[in-house]
Structures are given as C-alpha cells and as structure tokens.
C-alpha cells in the first residue's frame, strides 16, 4: 500500500515535469492548441462543402466526433517521440537508476499526455460549438462520449510508449505521417459505402470507426445509424471501443514496461 502511494506520488512528479515542459515551450503549447481549431475549420469547410451526410444532417455535426477520435489516435505520437527522446538523451537511464517503481515512468508519460491532450480537446469543443456542432443528448451522454475518446487515447498512448522505447527518436519521427491514414481510413470523414471492398473492411474494423459511431450516438449527431448488416464493431460500437482499448492496454502496458526495464 505504501509502495502504491509512492508510485502515485512519483507519477504526479513526472506529470508535473511534462506540464512544466509545456510552460517552457510556448511554441509547442500554441501548436497543440491551434491544431484542433485548424482541423475543425479545414475539414468542416473544405470537405463539408462537397460531402453530403448519409441520412441527412449538418456535415460539421457529422465531422466533430471524427475529429475527437483523430485527437485520440494522433496522441500516440507525442508519447512515442517524447519518451524516445528521453531514452536517447539518458534521462530514462537516470530515472532507472532511481529507487522508484519501474512502472512509474511510462505511467507518468501516459498520464501527462492525457492531461495535456484534454486541453486540446477543450479547444476543439469550443471551436466545434462555434461552427454549429451540438451535444444533443445531455451532459451524461456527452461525458460518456469523451470518456470513450480518452480511454482509447490513453490505451494508444501506451502503444506510443512501447514504440518510443523500441526505436530511436528519428525513427519515431518518421512514423508520424502514418498516423493520419489510420484516422482517415474510417467512417469519420466520409461514408464508407463508396470505398473499395478491402478498404471498407479495414475501415469498418478500424477502432476509430467504432469510436466515431459510439460518440455520434452519444452526442446525438448525424451518421450514428448503422445498417443491420453492418460489421460487428459498428453494431456494438461502445463494446467495441471498450474491447479495443482493453486489448491495447493488455498488449502494450506489459510491452512498454518490459522495454523500459531493459532499455
């Protein structure tokens, strides 16, 4: 129990460390604030001008859940990059020479990333509200929707830590462009009905699609209706998101901890 108390406190100290970075690097902070806003405006008005929402409705309302899901997926990168840099510069070695529990550093990393990303999400919510997006189903459902977004983001952040501890920072850097196709290859931005069969299969089973369907439902946004013959994760979107997150955590928490112990 005492060990657990220390682990929490150590995690807190590491979270404070990450947040201090943001304070010393206003550029990074501005970037992470501006990015979500730019995404809303770009997708909302560039794509929105050409796409008709299946079943009718406003494109920007259709879009916002996908952008929230995008922040969850993009979050894999800062986790990977920052811990990879720490490993390369020797900061991880210094942590490992300290009498702290071995899980604390990856835990602090993922927690701090989650806290930092909630700021970006808050900005995105504000910009979304400005362009006409609404949460139609009340506070509880909205909270549940953000809970799902943060859960998947947190799980992916552990995947990022495992990746970051396995490769050098330059390699982690080169993975960045791969993150976008993962979010685009889903039902978030355009209906999947027109995609070639193979892509459609991938899109239907993409955790992003399940997250988008689940949150559209919880926000009461258009595009939440799913055909009776749709893929299983779309018909059981909430369960699918919980399942995907649990799977990711089960795989990557031990992997990240193992990589940390023996890096």
């Amino acid at each position: 129990m005492r060990t657990f108390g220390w682990a929490l406190r150590d995690g807190g100290a590491l979270t404070v460390r990450e947040l201090s970075h943001l304070r010393h690097e206003p550029g990074q902070l501005i970037g992470s604030i501006a990015f979500p806003g730019v995404m809303v405006l770009m997708f909302g008005y560039v794509f929105g001008s050409a796409i008709t929402v299946p079943g009718g409705g406003d494109y920007r309302e259709f879009l916002m859940p996908a952008l929230f899901a995008m922040t969850a997926v993009v979050g894999v990168m800062p986790s990977a990059l920052l811990i990879s840099k720490d490993a390369a510069t020797g900061v991880v070695d210094r942590f490992r020479s300290l009498p702290i529990s071995r899980g604390v550093v990856p835990f602090g990393r993922t927690t701090a990333d989650l806290v930092a990303s909630s700021l970006g999400t808050a900005i995105m919510i504000l910009v979304g509200l400005v362009v006409g997006w609404r949460m139609h189903r009340g506070v509880l459902d909205a909270l549940a929707a953000f809970g799902l977004v943060f859960l998947l983001r947190y799980a992916l952040s552990w995947a990022g830590v495992a990746l970051g501890l396995s490769v050098r920072p330059e390699t982690a850097d080169s993975f960045v462009p791969l993150v976008f196709p993962v979010t685009m290859l889903s039902n978030g931005f355009v209906p999947t009905a027109g995609m070639p069969a193979v892509l459609r299969l991938v899109a239907d089973w993409n955790p992003v699609s399940a997250l988008v369907v689940a949150t559209r439902g919880l926000f009461g946004n258009p595009g939440a209706a799913v055909a009776a013959d749709a893929a299983w994760p779309l018909r059981h979107a909430t369960v699918a998101v919980l399942g995907w997150s649990a799977l990711l955590l089960l795989a990557f928490v031990p992997l990240a901890s193992w990589r940390y112990r023996r890096s």
């Binding site: 100290a13 460390r17 010393h24 020797g90 900061v91 020479s97």
Partner: protein
Amino acid sequence: MDSDLALRMEQVEKRYGPVRALDGLDLTVATGSVVGLLGPNGAGKTTAVRILATLTEPDAGRAWVTGLDVVREPHLVRRRIGLAGQHAAVDEKLSGRQNLLLFGRLHHLPERVVRQRAGELLDRFGLSAAADRVAGTYSGGMRRRLDVAVSLLVHPAVLFLDEPTTGLDPRSRAEVWQHVRELVTEGTTVLLTTQYLDEADQLADRVAVVNGGRVVTEGTPDELKSRLGQDTLDVVVRHAADLDRAATVVATVTTAPPAVDPQARRIRAGASGSDGALVAVVRELDRAGVAVEDVALRRPTLDDVFLRLTEAGRA
C-alpha cells in the same frame, strides 16, 4: 563480502549481440576511495558502470554495491548510488532548479528537504544565478555540473561518474575535478570512467586499465607508471666536445647503453627507478668537468602506460 568494499565485480560477462562488452571483469573498490576505470572507447568501462548502477544485468558473474547484489537487490542498490555523466542526463526543458526538485522528489525526499537541498547544490556548483533558466541554455560545463549536482541529491554512498568531463573545455574540466575532490573528502566512494589519462592521474587513488572487457592491470597511478614505464635520464651538455665523456659517465648509472644525439647535444638512457641515479650522475659529471645545460629524470606519463597496455588489444 568485506564490509570495507564499496564495489565488487566478480568475473562479470556481458554480450551485446556478437560483441563481448565484458569478458570476465574483476574489480574491487575500497570504501572512500576514488577508482578510475581507464580505457579506450569500447573497452567496457561504461558497461561496467551500467551493471553496477543496475541499468543492465550481467550475463554471468556477480556484482555488489556496498555489499548489495545488483541483480537480487537492485532497489536497495539504487538508494545508495548517484550516477552522472555520459549515460545520465538532465532534462533540458526544465530549469536547473526544476531538475533538482524533480529528481529529489523521485528520491522520495520530503518536500522541505528537497527545496533546501536544491538550493544548497545550486550554490555549491555555482549555478544559483542560472537556477531558473532552462538547462538547455546552459553551457557544457554548467550542464555537467548540474548533472553531478543531481546525482548528489541524496548523499550517495557510491557515485558513478561516467566520463564526467568528455567534451568540456579545460577550465570547466578543472571545475568539475575540484567538485569531485571535495566530494571525496566527504567520504563518498567514486568510480570514474575516463579516456583521459591526466584525469585519472589527477583524481584517482587507484586506476584499473580496462581493455577488451577485462581489467588488464590495476594499481595506483605511480605504481602503474613505475611498473610499466621506465624512467628516462636526460642530459644535455653545453659543449659538443664533452659528449663522449659525458656518455661514459651516464653509462655507469643507467641500465642500458645511452643514446647520443650530437645535434641536440643530448644523452638519453633508461634509468631504473630511483632518484639516486640523478644525484650520482650530476656528481660524476661535475667531477669529470663536463658543463651541463640540463639534466632530468623523466617519469613516464600515464599516456605511455596506457598506449603500451592497449596496443596489445589492437594488434
């Protein structure tokens, strides 16, 4: 194991893929001493430190820090060590003070103690004025001093300094050395790795020369020098005409026939260790009426020792 040993490594082996980083390394370090691990790049110095600092587990052999087994009791070992240098860094995006606060908290010092200790260390290492600047803006010397300061937060029983002055200018090196000397007077045991021989000469009570993953020789810097390199007697005469006479005199006190360099009017010969040879040669030259411009007994430098010992591994 003996309680007066701060560090002990016994037949430690470590491979990285096909590379044998350590190949049966033995090392003992007495409590309160400064031991220099000296060796070329890739000799295994850093691997030895990483094993002692619980960052890497050995493939074979055992290692203890203050009697605690590094594999079985790493958590206890980590309470007793400080690590600085090549393989432990400070956070460049935090200020000097924030670095000390962060690592102090992670050492589980009470908040009041952390703040007080951070202030003390900033003072001691001449970083007070820069305390609230981001460490990324520090000069190399300042960063290294902060690095050492961080490793001293908890008064470690054993401090590992992994190439503490690599890449520093001479003045910053001298500063880091000064701090290390102060620590030693406070009773901290220091294991220092370096590829600079003068650094080992300046700081270490004992030096272990590492090559090819094992200790090839070990002793005080003076022992190493006299064991491995021979003293050289150097005589320069004023008049070239005296050279032959002087050479005959020199030959009486030296172990090998002297080499004569007429151009420089210099006579050089290996002498066996004692300062008596110098006195004798000066007396005899004077008696023979030879005018001498310079006479000296030169000790080999650690460089000579180092090059001789590590040449074997290269050949």
